[in-house]
Symmetry: C2
Subunit: 419 residues, 2 copies
Amino acid sequence: MNHESFLSRAAAGMTQSAIRRMGGILATGRDIVSFAPGYPAPDTFAWDDFRAIAAELLASRDGSILQYGPTRGYRPLLEVIAGLQRGRGIDTAIEDLLVTTGSQQGLDLVARVLIDPGDVILVELPTYVGAISAFRNAQATMIGVPQEQDGIDLDALDRTFARLAADGRRVKFLYVVPNFQNPTGLLIGLDKRRRLLEWAERRDVLVVEDDPYRDLYFEDSASEAEVRPIKADDRSGRVIYLSSFSKTLAPGYRVAWIAAAPPLAAKLEMAKQAEDLLTGSLDQRVVYEACKRGVLDRQVPTLRRHYAHKRDVMQDALKRELGDLATWPRPSGGFFLWLTLPASVNADIMLPRAIEEGVIYVAGEAFYVNGEGQNTLRLSFSAPTPERIETGVSRLARALRAELAASATAAGAARQGAP
Amino acid sequence: MNHESFLSRAAAGMTQSAIRRMGGILATGRDIVSFAPGYPAPDTFAWDDFRAIAAELLASRDGSILQYGPTRGYRPLLEVIAGLQRGRGIDTAIEDLLVTTGSQQGLDLVARVLIDPGDVILVELPTYVGAISAFRNAQATMIGVPQEQDGIDLDALDRTFARLAADGRRVKFLYVVPNFQNPTGLLIGLDKRRRLLEWAERRDVLVVEDDPYRDLYFEDSASEAEVRPIKADDRSGRVIYLSSFSKTLAPGYRVAWIAAAPPLAAKLEMAKQAEDLLTGSLDQRVVYEACKRGVLDRQVPTLRRHYAHKRDVMQDALKRELGDLATWPRPSGGFFLWLTLPASVNADIMLPRAIEEGVIYVAGEAFYVNGEGQNTLRLSFSAPTPERIETGVSRLARALRAELAASATAAGAARQGAP
C-alpha cells in the first residue's frame, strides 16, 4: 500500500537531522573521532551521587516516584528551578515554569503554541539545528539574520523586520541562543542584549531565548556577568526562556525547563499534556535531589575547567594543523568551535573523505535556514578526550588538505581541457 | 502585553484535560477517594528489582546510560519489544519500531505525521481523552462512531464513512482501543476485529490501534486468545500499533512503543527527533533489564489477579449501593468501569457534590467528541485499595442520591410554580 498519500504536509517536509544521521556512522564501530554531536563528557557525570540518590528513592517505595504526576513537573523541582533562575537574575514565579522532556521539547512546545503554518519567525545565521527542525515541523517560514563577533546584527535584524512588515508579514518571534551559541560558540554582548530587548518591545515581537550553556562559561575569557540572560531584564513577559540540566547533570534524564508569562505557560502546559503527559517522574526526582544535595553546585566549576581545557587543546591543535586554512571565533564557553574553510571547500561533500580519515563533524549548511554555509563546519570538543581531540584534528587536517589538492587537480584538468 | 494575539490556532483551541484537572483537587490534601486518573497501583511495582537494576547500571559508569542516544530507542530494548510483539502474534522488524515517551507521545506523533488541519478521523464514542487531545491539537475533525457490547458498531462505522465520502471528505484513520477500552472497559470481539481490518482495507483507511491494557486480561472472564491485536492480521502495513510499559512496569519511566510500516516509522522518528530527541536513556535501560531479567513476566500474572480483585470489589460495591440507579458493562480486563446514570443526571454538574462527599471520578462527556455522555462517568479501580474502593463507592452513592433528590425538589418546585 502507498503510505505517502496518508502523510500530513508537515510530515512530507520532515527530514532526518544532520547531527543524528552521524549516529549511524559511529554505530559501525570503526575508529572514528566524533566531533559531531554536542555530547557532554560522560566521565564528568556524578555517577556515585546518582547511584546513591536512585537507590534511596527506590528504597523509599514512595509511589509517586514511579507514578504519573503533574504535567507542570514535580513541585519541589519547580521551586529549585525558580531558585536557579533567581541566581541568573530572573525573577520567576512557579506559575511561569514548566519542566520539559529536554529543551528540545521546550522548543517544540513553543513552536506548537505560537506558530501557524506560514508564520514568520527570525533566527540567527547560523542557528541550532534542533530548533530549525521544531520550527520547520510547525511549518514556520524562517528568516535568517547574520551575526557579528558579539552576536546577532541588530541593524540587519531591524532591516529584515522592516522589509517583512512592508510585505505585510507579521513576525511572531525571534529565536536566539545568546550564550556560547550552538553552533558558533558566540556570546551576545551585554549592551546588545539590552538593545535587543528594546527592539523586541518596539517591534512587538516575542523573544525565545534558548540558554543551555549558561553555566559553562570559561573563567579565563568570560565572566558570570557576561552571561546574564535577556530574560533577566524582561519586565513585560516578552521573553520565553529555556534552559536544561542536560549539559550540567546528564542528558539521559531528559530534564529541562521553560519559563514564560503565565498565559503562555498555561498553553505550553496544555500542549505538553497532549505531547507526553509528563517528564519522567524518577528522572525529575533524581535531578531534584542532585540540586538539593549540592551535586549541581559542585559539578559546575569542574565542568567549566574540563571544557575550557578541551577548548584549549582543540584550538591549539587547529592552529598547528589548520591555522593557514581555517578561521574560527574563539569560544569563551559551551561545547562548540565553528570553522570557516576556504570558500572552494564544501564541508558536506568533504565528509566521506573525513570519515575515511577517521573523523566526523557536522557540515555547517544544516545550521543555515537560507542555504548558505557550505564552507563551514561545527566541531564539538566536549566529549572526546584531549588525546582524541589531537588525533581528530590531525585527521581533519589530512582530509581538508586532500580535498583541496583534489579540487586543485580537478580545476587544473578543467583549465587544460578548456579551449 | 497581550499574549493571546501571539497564539497559534492550535493553541487557541487547547484546553486543560478533564482528568489532569483532578490532580489539583487531590493536591489540596483532603480525604478524597480518587477514581479519576487511571493510575496503576504503586504497591505492585517491582521496587526491589528496579533498585537493584538502577544501582548496577549506574555502578557500571557506562557513559551511554546517561548520554544522548538514538531517537529510535536503545537497540537491545527494540529487540525485546519485537519479541513481545511476536508473543502477541505480531510479526515485527526492528525497522517498524520506535520507543516513545509514553504512549501519549505515540499518539501525538501519529497526529503530527498523518493529520493536516481539517482532516477527518474516526474515533469510538466514547474514546480515550488523551487521544482526543493529541488529535485536537493537530486540528483534526473527529467524528464519533457508537459502540456495542462487543465494541465499535461496524455498520455505523461504514455508514459514517459513506456519508463523509459522499460529502467529499477523506477519512485518514480510525482510532480504536480494542482491549478493555479506556474509558468503557469494552473488548472488541475477535470476529469483529477481523471484519474491522477488512473494512479498513476496502475503504483504504489506516487503523491506529492503541493497546496499553492487553496484558491485563482477567482470567475469569477473558483469555489471551481474545486480546489478539488487530495488527496481528495486518499484512499490508495498514495498522499502526501502540503499546506501553506504563501499566505493567511503571508509568514514571515513560517508556512505550509504536510499530508501523517502515515508511511511516521513518516519519514518526523524524517527528520524534524534533519533539524530544530521545526517550530517557536510563529509563530505557531499566525497562530493558526488567524485561531481560524476567521482571515483566513475573509481574503480569500478579497484576491480572490484583486488578481483577479490585474490579470485583468495585462491582460488588456498585451493585449493593447503586444497583438500582446505574448500569455498566462488566470489564474483563484493564483499569476502568464505565457508569451510566439516570438520564436526568449530569455527572459534571454532580462533581462538586461528589468532592464534598470525598470521591472523584471523570465525568463522561470529556470522552465524547460529539458532546454526548452527560449522564456517564468513568471510575478507575486500579489504584485505590479494596477498602478505599468500598468507601469511595458509598460516597459516590450518597452524592448521586443527593443529586437526584435535589433535582426532584427542583422539578417539584418548577411544577408548583407553573400556571
